[in-house]
């Protein structure tokens, strides 16, 4: 399946991954700049912060309390903020577009 990362400068990077992983993992496996994924997906660093636009959000499970707590601390919080490591990629998300904040943390 395909995942499109849109960097804060508008650059698009499309990566090909197997379903079953997370958005963070898809970025790290392809060394997408702008996704650090420092803690490797244990919901402890918020350096996998990204924006998932409303139409895609609707097909996802909402964030759990641990994710929301971490999101409270990020610099560029928006209504469509998610932690990439908490979003699991199913085949129904093929082609999902994800925007990245200007910087992580």
């Amino acid at each position: 399946m395909k995942v499109v990362f849109i960097l804060s400068d508008g650059t698009r990077q499309t990566v090909e991954v197997e379903p079953g992983g997370t958005l963070m993992e898809a970025a790290l496996l392809n060394m997408v700049p702008g996704v650090e994924g420092m803690c490797g997906g244990v919901c402890s660093c918020a350096t996998c912060h990204c924006y998932v636009s409303a139409p895609w959000q609707q097909t996802l499970e909402g964030p759990r309390s641990g994710e929301l707590e971490m999101l409270d601390a990020v610099t560029y919080r928006r209504a469509d903020s998610r932690l990439g490591c908490q979003v699991t990629l199913t085949s129904s998300l093929d082609g999902i577009e994800v925007m990245l904040p200007p910087s992580q943390g």
Binding site: L28, M38, C39, G40, G41, V42, C43, S44
Partner: protein, 390 residues
């Protein structure tokens, strides 16, 4: 720098490796140890690059700096695998190790800490490591893995044997192999007796389900259990010991924590940056690469010196100063990215709870310096004995 100067397996070096690391950062940041044939990366940016670029800096086969260590160990551990194998296993466990999931262990950790401390309170002295720091991680891990109390000393003993190093020991010793085999035999039995357990969302349950559903092979499951037993014990114990030492060396900062325990998590982060227990993480060069003008060749071993990265002035101003107000989480004491420590949230919780209790019960503890004993392993640095009076 002359390669003869640095031997990470030398006990003398391990007492205080930081001046060596500083000289390497300043004079030879991508350093090749000719004698032993490995590279050492000591700058934050280089270590970070190596963690990110897993296709160039591979984990498969990279258990230790010494060559061929892997061959002696027949159960594959996911810490030394690369994607996609690694991702398949990592996905099973990452959701079980979030701070939210670890929270349920907080009350238990606190109760056990109090129980371990209680018999010593009247005497006014204890071995911070032997009596407490070495016990808590195993005790808490035992909950996750359903290891009965009566077996814990054995499991910890084997784990200690597996990672122990004699002075300048470079190869895997019979003691190391015996520790490994002890753990392997124990976990073979452990899995067999729990095969039909009800699936309760525990870590052991997840491991057994992975085997029954053929997501992991039996050997991978045993390897993962061995990995949890060694990764979660020694590192956490030694980090606690290092924090006890640094707070004693900085009584003013210790006072801040006594007055305001909500600062303890920040102190834990600063300790991890300044004196984390895990010193060097090993990778193998999977394709030739040039770094700072040096040619790293396919097949060579690379040590990612994460404690040196934590003291890199280019990343952290006044890096050689311990200051709990800094509280930066950009250290790589837990690694970074795909292989970053699964137990980071658990370790943070354990260390915080232990120090909340210590600083409440014995805020002015003193360390008997003459009684300090350093444990010996080039990858995990810290004390095996740390006597205190209070």
């Amino acid at each position: 720098m002359d390669s003869a100067e640095l031997d990470p397996y030398d006990h003398g070096f391990q007492w205080d490796p930081y001046p060596y690391y500083r000289r390497l950062r300043e004079q030879d940041p991508v350093y090749f140890n000719r004698q032993r044939g490995f590279w050492l990366l000591t700058k934050w940016a280089d270590v970070h690059q190596a963690f990110r670029d897993f296709k160039t800096f591979a984990s498969a086969g990279a258990v230790a700096l010494e060559a061929d260590a892997v061959d002696k160990f027949p159960y594959p551990m996911f810490i030394s695998t690369d994607p996609p194998d690694h991702s398949r296993v990592r996905r099973l466990f990452a959701p079980l190790f979030t701070p939210e999931k670890m929270k349920v262990l907080e009350d238990y950790t606190r109760r056990r800490t109090r129980e371990f401390l209680k018999p010593h309170l009247s005497s006014g002295r204890l071995d911070f490591v032997g009596d407490l720091a070495a016990r808590i991680p195993m005790d808490v891990l035992a909950v996750l893995l359903k290891i009965p109390a009566t077996d814990q000393d054995n499991v910890r003993g084997w784990a200690d044997d597996l990672i122990a190093r004699e002075d300048k020991q470079h190869d895997v010793s019979p003691r190391n192999v015996a520790g490994y085999m002890g753990l392997a035999a124990y976990f073979e039995q452990h899995v067999a007796t729990h095969l039909s357990m009800s699936m309760d969302g525990s870590l052991l349950g997840a491991l057994i389900r992975a085997e029954t559903e053929a997501v992991m092979s039996h050997a991978e499951v045993i390897g993962a259990l061995i990995l949890f037993a060694i990764a979660g014990n020694e590192t956490t114990t030694k980090t606690m010991g290092n924090l006890a030492l640094r707070l004693w060396q900085h009584p003013e900062q210790r006072r801040w924590l006594v007055d305001d325990p909500s600062l303890i998590p920040q102190a834990v982060e600063e300790l991890l940056r300044f004196d984390g227990s895990s010193q060097i993480i090993v990778r193998i060069v999977a394709q030739d690469i040039e770094m700072r003008g040096k040619q790293l060749k396919k097949g060579q071993r690379v040590g990612l010196c994460i404690v040196s990265a934590g003291r890199d002035e280019e990343k952290f101003p006044n890096a050689e100063t311990f200051d709990i107000r800094r509280g930066s989480r950009e250290h790589m004491a837990f690694g970074h990215g795909t292989h970053a420590c699964l137990g980071a949230a658990l370790a943070r919780l354990e260390i915080r709870v232990v120090f909340e209790e210590i600083l409440r019960l014995m805020p002015d503890y003193q360390i008997e310096e003459s009684g300090l004993q350093l444990a010996h392993n080039p990858n995990v640095r810290g004390y095996s004995r740390l006597p205190i009076q209070f």
